[in-house]
Point group: C2
Chain length 199, copies 2
Amino acid sequence: MRQQESSVALLASNVRFEVKIVPLRSLSPGSRLSEEQPVMADKSLFEFLHMEMVAYVYKHQNGDNNNQERGSSLSTLEGMGFRVGQGLIERFTKDTPSFKDDLDVVKFLCKDLWINLFRKQIDNLRTNHQGTYVLQDNKFSLLTQFSNSKQYMEEAPKYLAYTCGMVRGALSNLGIDSVVTAEVSVMPACKFQVVIQRS
Amino acid sequence: MRQQESSVALLASNVRFEVKIVPLRSLSPGSRLSEEQPVMADKSLFEFLHMEMVAYVYKHQNGDNNNQERGSSLSTLEGMGFRVGQGLIERFTKDTPSFKDDLDVVKFLCKDLWINLFRKQIDNLRTNHQGTYVLQDNKFSLLTQFSNSKQYMEEAPKYLAYTCGMVRGALSNLGIDSVVTAEVSVMPACKFQVVIQRS
């Protein structure tokens, strides 16, 4: 206890410091303690950071705002998502028995992964049974703050690139090479198309 | 139904597309549905993205890695956190009665905000009752993946700048100007010092 006090004094050596411990144990009844949900955080933490990151990447790469630069920002965001997807899937599949085929993997993404990340599952999954899957989310978390105007429709790819990368990264870590694209027809609904690449 | 099918065919016009709806309603018992936790997402989603963002900002601003550039990366991250903090606090204080003084605000950050963002409250709060507060988190979420070696200690500021900004942004939106700094003595414990600026 002595030691803690002196380190605080050091930290704020230019302030006359009368150390007083304010009791924090007495949580008011309205406060939500997270003991039962040890791995969850408020979703807005991620959503706000995602918006900041998109803005930052675009600001720093789009000085002259031509098409090539736009493509490069999208691929930067996709690349970030890819690495995050690789990390996340390792975490989520730790206790999962192995998958029996590609469809089984895609179903896992649609249910378990999506629920953990976006608090809902994919609303509709379609496949041609030849390696193409279409995942439809009728209310995609990262688009809900946009209105359905033309202006925002043109901006949509910016806000989907990271998630496309995340899906591709997750699949990649499960041994599946793929190309993932997204399209929006009516906000905030969104379709992710996964085309598995056979080597 | 017809319409949906044709839009999928359009999306993948170069693939022979036999539309098949895979049932997604039958969640296996192991799957976690998030109906009861509508605003929570897996914390790793935020943590991975935070790591990517720190790496990206440093890569793009630290070509020649001098001190001035390092400072600029830190302030970029701090600025992002600031804007996120402003947004988050608006969300979290929507239904909160007004605060009676600065200490009351700081306590709210230590409990409600911290629990929502990092799933635990600040472990210890100290104040000199003259506008300086020291918030100690003994196991800070964004540092838990680092070992306690000298190498990582030097890197710690990178991973704290965003959170310092978030605290400053939250306070700012509640009408309190402040300077927020952080220090680590033993990973993953961390102290945030808030000095309120009287005008």
